[in-house]
Amino acid sequence: MDRFAWTSGLLELGETLVVQQRGVRLYDGEEKVKFDSGVLLLSTHRLIWRDQKNHECCIAIPLSQVVFIEEQAAGIGKSAKIVVHLHPASSNKEPGPFQSSKYSYIKLSFKEHGQIEFYRRLSEEITQRRWENMPTSQTIQVNKDSQAGRIRAVGIVGIERKLEEKRKETDKNISEAFEDLSKLMEKAKEMVELSKSIANKIKEKQGDITEDETIRFKSYLLSMGIANPVTRETYGSGTHYHMQLAKQLAGILQTPLEERGGIMSLTEVYCLVNRARGLELLSPEDLVNACKMLESLKLPLRLRIFDSGVMVIELQSHNEEEMVASALETVSEKGSLTADEFAKLVGMSVLLAKERLLLAEKMGHLCRDDSVEGLRFYPNLFLTQS
């Protein structure tokens, strides 16, 4: 406990509060001390304890004094504690409550809990050692006689000076943080150049390397996030894997599609397929890439992308345009319908119902009424009447 020094409890310039906890008692090693009920504050630089009854009584210890910390679990009648092992006190330490101590550690007892969070934050601060980056004046304020130590900036000039210092610190921190990022971006650029040159080599040497190798190269490029660089051949933009996958999908999806009126949104397909697979789940990119090959592989399903960007899988035999005619009948019967109402009537998902109504509008069969009540579709009387 002799490492503690009296303090005003005010935070220094550049010091920020991290976390605080009420109901903390201090121990000098194994012995209780008179500091039995206080608020424990953790800042970027120090550990501060202030008496809950007497706010003037406030002590602090710099985090640089901490060697390491341990957790001590709660027991029956005992609160959970954090044990803080400390370096010996420095010779120029400010005066504190204890001149000497036979222990090189203290304990923080959390009578009102909160030790888990506090321990986490304290570990973080000790690891990060933020106090080294944000130098504040090292001398800690003495309680009553305040002249020694920090230049107490007074008045507007003082405030401005503080703001200026803070701004400079922030600037420095930001540019330091981004240094790593710019190095990373440089590397990334090199990688992209490299893969582009590989792609070009593939293009030139089409005859020399076997198809297998081409496909393997393509999959490497794909895994790096670069879409197929080679011109589209019979297999479209896929790899072996995607081809196999496409065939698999055709098998899995045939029945579900028939059950759902021949059309499903890609998200529904994704869920269905992954649920069936259990392990070895498909990524969305793989699913989309496989679906893009469906038509060229002459499989009985195809991928369709609506104007709005919504992607669906349809059976080849499904004709959305024909469905539009029946949609028109349904809407006419009811006078007008919203996408929700239509979906319920027909037994479709709202997403697909909306796409069908939008398609009908695009074809001129329906028109829209957009008001605060929502979006409704009507038969297009503008074209059929008068």
Partner: protein, 174 residues
């Protein structure tokens, strides 16, 4: 006799600008026709866009639908393109709907002038619009702004000349 609203006026989609091109064309034609008929029936004076928003022309209270501001502006632009609307200020805040184009008015006036052998005579604007002689003519009671526009149109065709008289303006027909 109350104004006969067209069927579109009770059709909610009429108050939403249609995204489909073909549909929109039909919709705009209907709006233009309605605006002209309404303006003729109610002898609409010049109005501001603000006033237009609240007018029964663009806001059907019973149906609880109003044509939104951007769409009203599309309709007004369409009217202007057809020669049936004139903006009265640079900021496009007030306008005049001309259910009959100035050229058309000019034609009617000139027809009356020639039919009655009155070419080469001079008239004051008042005489033309409110005189006894023109009582049975369609252009009788035409407001001065429109009358002037009509005469300006005739002036373009060299069939008339607007002149200044002692107590106002007048026109000479050729």
């Amino acid at each position: 006799m109350s104004f006969a609203w067209p069927w579109q006026y009770s059709f909610p989609p009429f108050f939403t600008l249609q995204p489909n091109g073909e549909t929109r064309q039909k919709q705009l034609s209907a709006w233009c026709a309605l605006a002209l008929a309404y303006s003729q029936r109610h002898r609409l004076p010049a109005m501001t866009v603000r006033e237009a928003q609240d007018s029964p022309l663009f806001a059907n209270r019973r149906l609880q639908r109003k044509l939104p501001l951007e769409s009203i502006q599309v309709v007004l632009e369409e009217l202007r393109k057809n020669g049936n609307l004139e903006w009265l200020d640079k900021n496009k805040t007030s306008f005049l709907i001309m259910w009959r184009r100035p050229e058309e008015w000019g034609k009617l006036i000139y027809q009356w002038v020639s039919k009655n052998g009155l070419t080469n005579s001079v008239f004051t604007l008042y005489e033309l619009a409110s005189g006894d002689d023109t009582e049975n003519e369609e252009f009788h009671g035409l407001d001065e702004t429109m009358l002037l526009r009509a005469l300006q149109a005739l002036q373009q065709e060299h069939k008339a000349e607007i002149i200044t008289l002692d107590d106002g303006r007048g026109v000479k027909f050729f």
